[in-house]
């Protein structure tokens, strides 16, 4: 047997319906009305009340919707007040969770923005042809403020240069490779970042220099970038293949982006006589 009529299924259903109907009321108001109606039923009906007695009392009370409307007062409340009322019923831990998620999202957005807007890599320090035979035959010129270093193309052989690369940002930047979408990259390429003694100042390399790809450059540091390729352009006499910049895939923090590295001078391969292509060494 029930100890109170509040355990009667019809009463429980009625109170549940009242809770739903009062969802738009301020929490305190809804709670108070529920408490009053529950006290009314508890006093008006014995614990062992029959279904028809309970039905009659609930009918006299009025429908939950009518009670909620009466509690809301004449006329419906403005939508903003209803919204505020519903918001006021949200539990404190839900607000805490929402605040934590928003704070995390804002923090992530700020960090992401900082990564995306980080200073790109700059050429700084060493600029030198990698192979001794090229260094021996290089010709440096200046025209209209543009510096150019030129070596004969050695068709079908590896050629390349080493430049210092400076990371002036607050983020570690990791060179992942050449951007494969860059036009004119039909030649076979090799790219490495050099670190170790001298290389860490962008000054020079030794036999101890470690060459890696991907290669990381810490914030406000300099490393060497070695760019090698198999020359297969075969320019005719007077023709030149000139490289003035490199399009690099670089990871900044967790963001990968393409950076255009200006090389500071023009690296040129001087074409040979057509008949020399494939025979020069």
């Amino acid at each position: 047997m029930n100890e109170t009529v509040l355990e009667h299924p019809l009463v429980r259903d009625y109170l549940r319906a009242l809770d739903s109907a009062c969802a738009g009321l301020p929490a305190a108001q809804a709670r108070e009305l529920r408490e009053q109606i529950a006290a009314h039923l508890d006093e008006a009906l014995p614990p062992s009340a029959a279904d028809d007695e309970v039905c009659a009392e609930l009918t006299r009370l009025g429908t939950p919707g009518a009670l909620a409307a009466e509690a809301a007062g004449p006329g419906s409340r403005p939508a903003v007040r209803r919204l505020l009322s519903r918001l006021s019923r949200v539990r404190w831990w839900v607000w805490t969770l929402i605040a934590a998620i928003v704070a995390a999202a804002v923090t992530a957005a700020v960090f992401l923005s900082l990564m995306l807007t980080a200073e790109p890599l700059l050429q700084g320090g060493l600029s030198a042809w990698w192979f001794p035979q090229d260094r021996a035959r290089e010709v440096d010129t200046t025209a209209a403020g543009v510096y150019q270093t030129t070596v004969p193309e050695r068709y079908g052989q590896w050629q390349g240069f080493v430049v210092g690369v400076e990371n002036d940002s607050d983020w570690t930047q990791t060179i992942l490779g050449l951007d494969q979408n860059v036009e004119g990259m039909s030649m076979q390429w090799s790219l490495d970042v050099g670190s170790g003694l001298y290389a860490d100042e962008g000054g020079s390399w030794t036999s101890q220099t470690r060459w890696d790809l991907p290669g990381s450059i810490p914030p406000h540091s300099v490393r060497l970038l070695r760019v090698l390729w198999v020359s297969d352009v075969c320019d005719g006499p007077g023709g030149q293949t000139i490289i003035t910049d490199l399009s690099l895939r670089v990871r900044v923090g967790i963001v990968a982006r393409t950076e255009n590295l200006q090389l500071g001078l023009a690296w040129a391969l001087q074409g040979n006589k057509a008949s020399d292509c494939g025979q020069n060494g």
Binding site: E32, Q36, A39, H40, E43, A44, G62, E70, A71, G73
Partner: protein, 117 residues
């Protein structure tokens, strides 16, 4: 008593003063008020509407409530009329007497009332 919207509004308008009048006699708990208003006849559209009304009267400062836990009885929330409630009730009584006389005079003009009998 009729249940058209006009009568519902009229009941709504007089129910507050009636509650205040009952509480002026002595404090009462919710079910007690409902039963007495029911017994008066025709004042309530439904029993449950008394509770939102009591809450509005309390918000307006016309009644207060407190839990009383008398020995041998269940704890009940009792409602009390406040000084403001008494003043409002007195004002309503004065207005009502005049208003009811006016309505009566319009509804039952002299001579017409005699013919109805």
């Amino acid at each position: 008593m009729g249940s058209d919207p006009g009568m519902t509004e009229l009941r709504r308008g007089v129910l507050g003063p009636c509650v205040l009048a009952l509480l002026e006699v002595r404090p009462r708990f919710g079910l007690e008020l409902v039963r007495e208003l029911d017994a008066a006849g025709g004042l309530l559209t439904s029993d449950g509407t008394v509770y939102p009304l009591l809450n509005r009267l309390r918000d307006a400062g016309l009644v207060t409530s407190e839990w009383r836990d008398a020995e041998g009885e269940r704890a009940r929330r009792y409602y009390f009329i406040t000084d403001d409630g008494r003043k409002q009730l007195a004002a309503f009584r004065a207005d009502w007497t005049e208003f009811a006389a006016t309505v009566r005079g319009v509804l039952y003009p002299a001579g017409e009332e005699g013919r109805r009998r």
